[in-house]
C-alpha cells in the first residue's frame, strides 16, 4: 500500500509539474510577439486573454471587416488576463507607449479605474457608435462623466444551471425552480443533499463571485457611485451576507479553493446547481457524458425590495488607445463589427457560445437555437431575456479594494460574529484603504 501511494504521489507530482511547465511555456511564447507591429499593410494589434473566446471574437470581426477592407490585417496577441493587466499598468505608468497595442480588452470593473488613473489614454467612443442598441446596464459601465469609452463586448448575465436528473430524484420539477428566493434555494438544497447525497452548490470564501451576483441582483454594489464604501446602512449588503452565511452553514455547499476545483466539481457531477455567468456554458458542456441532463433557470432572488431573479457576473469591453498609430482605423474596425453588426454577434454565439449586449441580434435565429445539451432548451433566448432585467449599477473605481476589505472580515462573519459590527469594520478598513 505504501509503495503504491508513493508511486502515485510521484506520478501526480510529475504530471502536474509537466502541466505547469506546459502552460508557462505557452504564455511566454505569446508574450514575445508584441513588438512586431508596423508592417506595410494596414495592421492593427489587439491584446486579449482568451484565444478561444475574446481572441476568437476578434478573428470573426476581422473576417467581416476584411470583406470591405481587403488590406486590413489584425494581429491578436494572447496572454493571461493578469499578465495583460499588469503589462498595461506598467506601460501606462511608465509613460511608454511603444509596446502597447491599438486595441485592448478591459474587464468591466477596471474601466473607471483605468480611465481615471490614466487620463487621455483611451479613445472616446461617445459618437462613434449607437449606444442605444446595447443593454443599458452594459453602457452604464462604460460611461464616465459625459463620455463613453470603448465598445461593449461580452456580458455575464447569470443563470442557475442545474442537473435536472438530481433535482428530479429529489422530487423537484422545472416549475419549482422558477422565481424562487435564496431561502427556498437552501431548502431545496437540503432535500437534494438528503435524497441524492450530492451538494447543491460550491462555496469558496476566497472568491467574491457569489456576493457580487447577489449584490447586483438587487441593484447594489460594494461601493456607491460616489466611490464610497457601501457596507453600512445598506440592506442589500446585509441580506447578501446573511444569505451567504446561511448557504455556508446549511452544509449544502461543497468547499472549493480555486477555479479548477470549482469547474471540476460540476464536471465530475458533484453538485446539482451552478450559479454563474452565461460564459460558463462552454465549461459545463465540457462534460460530454452529462449531455441532456442540464437545464438553466433564473437565479434565486434576494427577498428584499428591488431584488430580481437576474444578475451579472463579469464581462468585458474593447478599448482603443489614444496614442496608437492606427487609432482611427482601430475605432472604425470596432464600430463596424463589434459595435454594430448583428452578423458578428450571431457568428460569435454560434461558433464560440459568446453572448453580447447588442439588442438587434437577440431576435436572430442564432439566439433562438435549441441546445441538445440542455435538453432542447433555447438557453440563449432565456439568457438574453434575463439580461434586460439586470439592474444597472455603477462599478466604480475601488471594487477590488472593497472586495478585499470584505474578504478580510468574511471568516469572522461565517463564524457568527455580529453582522452590524462586522460591516462597520469592513467599512472602516475600506476607507483606510482608499485615500
Amino acid at each position: 500500500m505504501k509503495k503504491f501511494l508513493s508511486v502515485l504521489l510521484l506520478v501526480t507530482m510529475t504530471a502536474s509539474l509537466l502541466a505547469a511547465c506546459g502552460s508557462s511555456n505557452s504564455d511566454s511564447n505569446t508574450a514575445g510577439s508584441t513588438d512586431q507591429g508596423g508592417s506595410s499593410k494596414k495592421k492593427v494589434v489587439a491584446w486579449a486573454w482568451d484565444p478561444s473566446f475574446n481572441g476568437a471574437a476578434l478573428k470573426i470581426a476581422e473576417e467581416l471587416y476584411q470583406k470591405e477592407h481587403p488590406d486590413f490585417e489584425l494581429e491578436v496577441v494572447d496572454m493571461a488576463k493578469a499578465d495583460l493587466e499588469q503589462k498595461l499598468n506598467a506601460n501606462l505608468a511608465a509613460g511608454v507607449k511603444d509596446g502597447l497595442p491599438d486595441i485592448i480588452l478591459v474587464n468591466d470593473p477596471n474601466i473607471q479605474k483605468y480611465v481615471t488613473a490614466y487620463p487621455n489614454t483611451f479613445a472616446d467612443f461617445t459618437d462613434k457608435i449607437d449606444f442605444t442598441q446595447f443593454s443599458p446596464y452594459k453602457v452604464d459601465a462604460l460611461r464616465i462623466g459625459d463620455k463613453i469609452y470603448g465598445v461593449p463586448f461580452d456580458i455575464g448575465v447569470t443563470g442557475m444551471f442545474y442537473r435536472s436528473d438530481y433535482l428530479e430524484q429529489a422530487g423537484y420539477t422545472a416549475k419549482d425552480l422558477e422565481n424562487i428566493t435564496w431561502d427556498q434555494y437552501i431548502e431545496i438544497g437540503k432535500v437534494v443533499k438528503e435524497k441524492t447525497g450530492k451538494y447543491m452548490t460550491t462555496i469558496n470564501p476566497n472568491d467574491e463571485a457569489l456576493t457580487s451576483i447577489l449584490l447586483q441582483s438587487a441593484g447594489s454594489w460594494y461601493i456607491t457611485p460616489e466611490n464610497k464604501g457601501n457596507f453600512v446602512n445598506n440592506p442589500v449588503m446585509a441580506e447578501t451576507l446573511r444569505v451567504y452565511k446561511a448557504i455556508s452553514d446549511s452544509g449544502i455547499a461543497k468547499p472549493v479553493t480555486g477555479w479548477s476545483e470549482f469547474v471540476g466539481s460540476f464536471n465530475a457531477g458533484d453538485v446539482a446547481t451552478v450559479v454563474s455567468g452565461v460564459w460558463q456554458v462552454p465549461s459545463i458542456m465540457d462534460a460530454k457524458d452529462q449531455s441532456g441532463k442540464w437545464r438553466v433557470a433564473p437565479i434565486p432572488r434576494l427577498n428584499i425590495k428591488g431584488g430580481v431573479n437576474a444578475s451579472n457576473e463579469g464581462g468585458s469591453s474593447w478599448f482603443v488607445l489614444n496614442g496608437s498609430k492606427n487609432k482611427d482605423l482601430a475605432i472604425d474596425f470596432l464600430a463596424k463589427t463589434i459595435g454594430g453588426s448583428s452578423e458578428f454577434y450571431e457568428r460569435f454565439l454560434k461558433e464560440k457560445g459568446g453572448v453580447g449586449s447588442y439588442i438587434p441580434a437577440f431576435s436572430s435565429d442564432a439566439y433562438g437555437q435549441q441546445s441538445e445539451f440542455f435538453g432542447g432548451q433555447a438557453i440563449y433566448r432565456d439568457f438574453t431575456k434575463w439580461s434586460t432585467e439586470v439592474p444597472g449599477i455603477s462599478l466604480g473605481m475601488y471594487t477590488q479594494e472593497a472586495k478585499d476589505a470584505l474578504k478580510n472580515e468574511l471568516p469572522n462573519i461565517l463564524q457568527g460574529a455580529d453582522l452590524t459590527q462586522s460591516l462597520a469594520n469592513i467599512q472602516k478598513l475600506f476607507e483606510q484603504q482608499v485615500q
Binding site: 504521489l9 502536474s16 508557462s24 493587466e85 472549493v256 479553493t257 476545483e261 478585499d404
Partner: protein
C-alpha cells in the same frame, strides 16, 4: 615606486569605473527615484507631493499591519526551522561512511532548481480539498473528513511554511556542507580522543566553525522571506481573508490589482528596505565577530 603605485591605481579605477557607473544608473538612481515617489500619492499617472502623508498612512493601515504580521510570522517560524534542518541534514550527509551520498545530496538540493511558480502550483494541488494529501490521510483513517487546508487561516500558513521550507532547505544545506568540508578532520579526531560525544562535537566544533556561514544564510533567508511573493500568490492568493498575504503581495496589489497608487506602493517598499536593514544589523551584532 610611487609612480608605479599610481599607475596601477589608475588601472584599478578604470576597471571599477564601468561597473560603478552601471550600478549607479540601474540600481541607485531608481532607488532614489522610488524614494521621491514614496512622498507622492495619486492614481496611475496623476500625482502630487504629499510630504510624509504616505508614511503616516502606513502606520495606521490595517492591511499593511496584517501583511507585516504575516511576513514576520513566516520569518520567525520558518527561517529557524529551515536553517536547523539544513544544518542537521548537512551534518548527516557529511558523514564520510555514508553510501549514495551524491544521490541524497542531489535529491535534497533538487527542489531549488524547480521554478517557484510550478512548485507552488504543485503544493496547491497536493493540499486541495480533494488533493492527494487528504486522500492519503483519509485512506489511512487519520482523519474522517477532508481538511480544507487552504481555507483555514492556520493551516494555510502551515502550508506556505511547509512549501518554502521544502524549496529552500537544500539551498542552505549546500552552503553548510561545503563549509563543513573545510573543517580540518584532525579537530574532530582530537575531540574524540578527549572523549567528546558526537553531539558535543556538533555543537562545540561544527556550529562555531560554521558561524560565518550560518550568519550569511540567516541574512539571505531573512531577506528572501521578507520579499516572499510567488508562493503565496500561487498557493493561496493571500487568502483566506488576507491571512497569508505578504508585504510584497500588498505592494503588488497596490500597483496592479487596486487602483494604481505607485507612490504609496513605493512607501511600502521602503518599509521593507528599513526592515531588512534593521534585521541584518541585528543579526550581524548578534552573530558577528566581537570587535
Amino acid at each position: 615606486m610611487e609612480r608605479k603605485w599610481n599607475k596601477s591605481s589608475l588601472m584599478g579605477w578604470q576597471f571599477v569605473a564601468l561597473p560603478s557607473a552601471l550600478i549607479l544608473l540601474f540600481s541607485f538612481y531608481p532607488m532614489f527615484q522610488s524614494l521621491l515617489l514614496s512622498f507622492q500619492s495619486g492614481k496611475g499617472t496623476v500625482y502630487h507631493y504629499v510630504g510624509i502623508d504616505n508614511y503616516i498612512r502606513l502606520f495606521s493601515d490595517p492591511m499593511f499591519k496584517q501583511a507585516v504580521f504575516n511576513t514576520l510570522l513566516y520569518l520567525i517560524v520558518q527561517v529557524p526551522i529551515m536553517l536547523l534542518l539544513g544544518l542537521v541534514i548537512a551534518h548527516l550527509l557529511n558523514n564520510p561512511k555514508l553510501r549514495f551520498k551524491g544521490f541524497y545530496r542531489t535529491a535534497i538540493f533538487l527542489p531549488c532548481v524547480t521554478s517557484l511558480v510550478s512548485y507552488a502550483v504543485l503544493f496547491k494541488s497536493i493540499f486541495a480539498v480533494d488533493g492527494i494529501l487528504n486522500k492519503m490521510l483519509l485512506s489511512m483513517h487519520v482523519i474522517q473528513e477532508p481538511i480544507a487546508w487552504l481555507m483555514d487561516p492556520i493551516w494555510a500558513r502551515v502550508v506556505i511554511i511547509a512549501a518554502i521550507t521544502w524549496r529552500w532547505t537544500g539551498y542552505n544545506m549546500i552552503f553548510y556542507l561545503s563549509a563543513m568540508q573545510n573543517i580540518d578532520p584532525s579537530i574532530y579526531e582530537a575531540a574524540s580522543i578527549d572523549g567528546a560525544s558526537k553531539t558535543r562535537q556538533f555543537f562545540s566544533i561544527t556550529v562555531p566553525m560554521l558561524k560565518p556561514i550560518i550568519l550569511f544564510t540567516a541574512i539571505i533567508s531573512t531577506n528572501g522571506t521578507l520579499q516572499l511573493f510567488d508562493e503565496v500568490v500561487n498557493i493561496t492568493k493571500g487568502g483566506p481573508g488576507n491571512a497569508t498575504m505578504t508585504i510584497s503581495q500588498y505592494i503588488y496589489n497596490l500597483s496592479f490589482v487596486y487602483t494604481p497608487n505607485f507612490g504609496y506602493a513605493a512607501t511600502v517598499s521602503y518599509a521593507i528596505v528599513v526592515m531588512v536593514a534593521v534585521l541584518a544589523l541585528f543579526q550581524l551584532k548578534l552573530g558577528g565577530e566581537k570587535r
